[in-house]
Symmetry: C2
Subunit: 294 residues, 2 copies
Amino acid sequence: MDFASWMSAVQQRTESALERLLPAAAAAPARLHQAMRYAALGGGKRVRPLLCHAAGEIFGADAVRLDRAACAVEMIHVYSLVHDDLPCMDDDVLRRGKPTCHVEYDEATALLAGDALQTQAFQVLAEEPVATDAGRRLAMLALLAHAAGSRGMAGGQAIDLGAVGKTLTLEELEFMHIHKTGALIRAAVLLGAHCGDADVDALERLAHFANRAGLLFQVVDDILDAEASTATLGKTAGKDAAQGKPTYVNLLGNQRAKDQAAELRTDAHAALAGFGERALRLHQLTDFIVERSF
Amino acid sequence: MDFASWMSAVQQRTESALERLLPAAAAAPARLHQAMRYAALGGGKRVRPLLCHAAGEIFGADAVRLDRAACAVEMIHVYSLVHDDLPCMDDDVLRRGKPTCHVEYDEATALLAGDALQTQAFQVLAEEPVATDAGRRLAMLALLAHAAGSRGMAGGQAIDLGAVGKTLTLEELEFMHIHKTGALIRAAVLLGAHCGDADVDALERLAHFANRAGLLFQVVDDILDAEASTATLGKTAGKDAAQGKPTYVNLLGNQRAKDQAAELRTDAHAALAGFGERALRLHQLTDFIVERSF
């Protein structure tokens, strides 16, 4: 299977798994469940599920297990988008080419839908068999919680809030992104590996890969945001720069940001070397993250 | 130890445990961690931790284990208060006698603090030893997630939103409260019992107790809200009725609401009968829930 077909297959099975693991649209309270499904279904590149599946394939993990872990990570990601788009945060009206959740529904419903999507992520990991060993499943839950919480993604968003209008150093910008997007990308990779019963050594090497890939993803995102049009992105473009948020592009300039991306890609690939051919999809996915922009 | 001393001891150890299980105020991002601590520490009746400890005592559960489970439930409760007080929800400025989190900090920080408190609750259950058996710990995580999510507390809040200005039947009002407050009260009781390795039969009897106690708590809350002053409550009084939210008092009248409370108390006590003296604290706590008002 070529990479594009593999990617499309994972995206499709992620959509089906989310359909199944989210509460039914008709179940009470229906409006809340519809808002959760509106935010989570029918869009998105599914970068985190792709990373989860690609990492799991190194260890021959069962695809159905990977779907569950991938959905848990994606639900955390989607909840963060729903809350991030609220008027008190980024106040955005467009996401994945559709009106944002609070525009389509209302602010209170969007707030609760984000809240309940976070809960559902933990419920999936706690209820669905994602690994044989219960101890490993607890470790997976702790890993996702750490990645999502105040010392991970939510913490990164708080740092981001405090950074608006400030000049950050490159170190400070990296610290923000390691939390804001890096933590969940790392969790996606490691949860996929756990689904395949990866050992400690393999998990460490993948954590190193994921740290590089996470920053790579953000650098490329900044380049995209600076260059692309709103129509291409499916979300409001150029917004970070306009809001005075620090980006790699306005800190380094476009060319040096691209050099940085190239270097991170090399590092990420190097971290995968020991896995040989089994890491093919993760290797290709790293390239895809870069090449979607230039 | 008399009941008042027992209650005070549990409240104090809950405060200490929360101090320890919440991220340090100085840890980055400090403002977020301070907001989480501001919302969770130094106040509240700690009804859910009290229920958790009282249920655990039936089975001789270790008090340190109970602290952890109690804190997980309390973090979910506190996150829901922080989000519930936001301008897009109840828009409240006073909570536990202090300015609400978004008034003391700002809306975006309060949103993230609530988000991160929810995550922290699951992290505590996933990381801290709350039971010996890993399978039981997974069941405890699933139980808390179910109670907090769209088919539990968050779902109840959504039903509440949809009910403003409407006339509900008694059945509809009960359905709302079973979700909005009942689910988490039930989780507090059952998690406490799990800490003491309770068997299925005991868990079922306690679930029945908790269902009655949860409704009792809400009926009494409605009576309090209708009767008490803002100063006594430590939150804005008479607000539910003023907002056109359905309450037991405006549906049944004050006297019939009190009769209903008395009946629920009798049922709750009956469900505890089989546990004998070991259920003393849970029995007393049921009385306390009622007697704080009349």
